[in-house]
Amino acid sequence: MAAFGGLAAASVLAAPLIGTTAISLRRVFDGSVPFADNVDAQIFLIARLPRALAGALVGATLAAAGVVFQALLRNPLATPFTLGVSAGSALGAMLAITFRLHLSLWGVSAVTAASFIGSLGAVAIVYAMARARHQGFSTNILLLAGVTLNAFFSALILFVQYLADSAEALRTVRWLMGDLDVAGYAPLVAALPLCAAAFVAFAWLPRPLNLLSLDADAAASRGVDVLRVQRVAFFSASMATGAAVSLGGPIGFIGIIVPHLVRLMVGADHRVVLPASALFGAAFLVAADVVARTVMAPVELPVGIITALIGGPFFLWLLIRQR
């Protein structure tokens, strides 16, 4: 665990030092130069540091949510996006971009706010579905509702994009590829409380998830309030995913490759897998974002492309290996 922690800390500390522009750390922290004139300090503190922090927050959240969803749905191929949260989020963002919502509150743009509202809508629909057909909380229906909602929202997204002007259509596409250049701390501050609340829930989840991932009945017989665990897992992981996606876009594959890689290294105990995945997810996304912003500079490569390029082949390998 210390190794994972060290890796995450090292990535967040190192990332702001790496970039296409050479900056001098001495100048960054040189108090005698006014901040407005200190370009090195601005590159470090406005452009790079919030970006690294956003990468860490989004990466940790998506990876941890991936672990929780895989346990909740008892499906090793579940991701934070399986239940339609990200599709709802994307639909919200597409609507805000296409219909040019120009509001912003406390430095959080309409696109970010709309995408979070969209994710809440998806969570509410999926949850209502899972409750409606079943006395308890059916993970099968959850899965089916999520998959259907994903497909339906994807169709709506295409429809909205079709209505958009070409300039807007391009922006929507770019949003879907993920972007951690959050430009300042306001979007981070907005996403942080939700992610923090989710992590408090995650801290309580590992033991019940261990029992649940074996068998719901067996877990119940050992005194686990199955319904409560499922509900906490569903809402905390969904909200955190919504917050992460509204901050950085639907960055793919983090929520699936990181948990599996971590399991290969530390085994299946959620008390280790969950925190280790969060830390490793943070380090992985921060590193992927460093690649995204340097490899084609000055052109910015969407970070979702990097994670997909690494994640896609890994996913296939995982599938073959599982048989």
Binding site: T20, T21, A36, D37, V39, Q42, I43, I46, A47, R51, N75, L77, A78, T79, F81, T82, L83, G84, S86, A87, A90, R100, L101, H102, S104, S109, V111, L143, L144, G146, V147, N150, A151, S154, I157, L158, Q161, Y162, S166, A167, A169, L170, R171, T172, V173, W175, L176, D179, D181, V182, A183, G184, P187, G252, F253, R293, A297, P298, V299, E300
Partner: protein
């Protein structure tokens, strides 16, 4: 149970992919102009009387050369000249309404060269097509002359093209000898924040107009028409002037102030420090047609003052 994965992880991915393809197809709509001189269809030679234009900049060219009365229908994106408001709409780049086009019995359709399916269908229906392709600023007047020759209005086209060239030459002359500020040409970003900033690279009619109007594009060395850049890259580039294009009509003063204030996040950029951020509004900014002269003048005013 693998149900979860098939449609989930990749749901968004496939949307993104489809959308990316759409975007690639649509790029020309905002891109650089120019008409490729190869307009031979089945009926080449006869002077067309009923022209359908799917390309807004070509529509504007037709009106500018005096062929407006011959335009029978336009695309759903056409806004100029005001006469187009009365004309039927027949779709656009990704959604041309073939039935509607055929029912209008055109004798020439100006289409994007990338609309290969449409062109094949029209050719089968023995309707002549003028394929439109993209290029630089210079291609606008060249394409205009070519289009004029194709429809038997060479003289009108030459006159209108010469007028554009005179207008552009005037802007170039007015900028000559003036200092050339290093300029960031922003063509899109998220409203009221500095996220997803897309700028002009060193290719396309907007870049050409900026250079002509007396600005040095800070990303002129990048062989791309448009690109996303990070805030770090903008801080490092340190432009003296920021020109930001908004394709909508003029915004309220309050909204404009909000948009300008978004840049205050980067006080190290000379343009921000010195208040040299110019927001330009207007549908003509996106159309590589006869109104580029207006855009060139607006650029020059922003760069050098009135």
């Amino acid at each position: 149970m693998t149900l979860g994965f098939r449609d989930s992880g990749f749901g968004i991915g496939s949307v993104a992919l489809t959308a990316a393809l759409l975007a690639v197809l649509m790029r020309p709509a905002v891109g650089a102009p120019g008409l490729q001189p190869r307009g031979d269809g089945p009926q080449a030679g006869a002077a067309p009387r009923r022209i359908v234009s799917l390309v807004p900049s070509a529509t504007e060219m037709l009106f500018a050369m005096g062929a407006g009365p011959r335009v029978a229908a336009v695309s759903s994106y056409d806004r100029f000249p005001p006469e187009v408001e009365r004309l039927p709409r027949v779709g656009a780049l990704v959604d041309p309404d073939v039935e509607r086009i055929l029912s209008l019995r055109p004798d020439l359709v100006v289409a994007y060269a990338s609309q290969t399916d449409l062109i094949a269908q029209l050719t089968r229906a023995r309707i002549a097509v003028y394929p439109y392709r993209h290029g630089s600023l210079a291609d606008i007047t060249a394409g205009m002359r070519d289009l004029g020759a194709r429809i038997g209005m060479a003289a009108g086209a030459a006159r209108a093209a010469a007028e554009i060239e005179r207008g552009l030459a005037g802007v170039r002359a007015s900028a000559a000898g003036r200092p050339r500020p290093r300029t960031l040409l922003v063509i899109g970003r998220e409203p009221q924040s500095l996220r997803a900033i897309s700028v002009s690279g060193g290719f396309g009619f907007l870049h050409d107009l900026l250079e002509l109007a007396g600005g040095d594009n800070v990303f002129g060395g990048v062989e791309r028409e448009s690109m996303m850049v990070a805030t770090e890259t903008i801080l490092a580039a340190g432009p003296d002037v920021i020109l930001e294009l908004h394709y909508s009509d003029r915004a309220s003063r309050a909204a404009e102030t909000l948009e300008r204030d978004a840049w205050k996040l980067l006080p190290g950029v000379p343009a921000v420090r010195n208040g040299r951020i110019h927001l330009l509004y207007g549908g003509e900014l996106v159309v590589p047609g006869p109104r580029v002269v207006l855009t060139a003048r607006a650029f020059a005013r922003a760069l050098h003052g009135p």
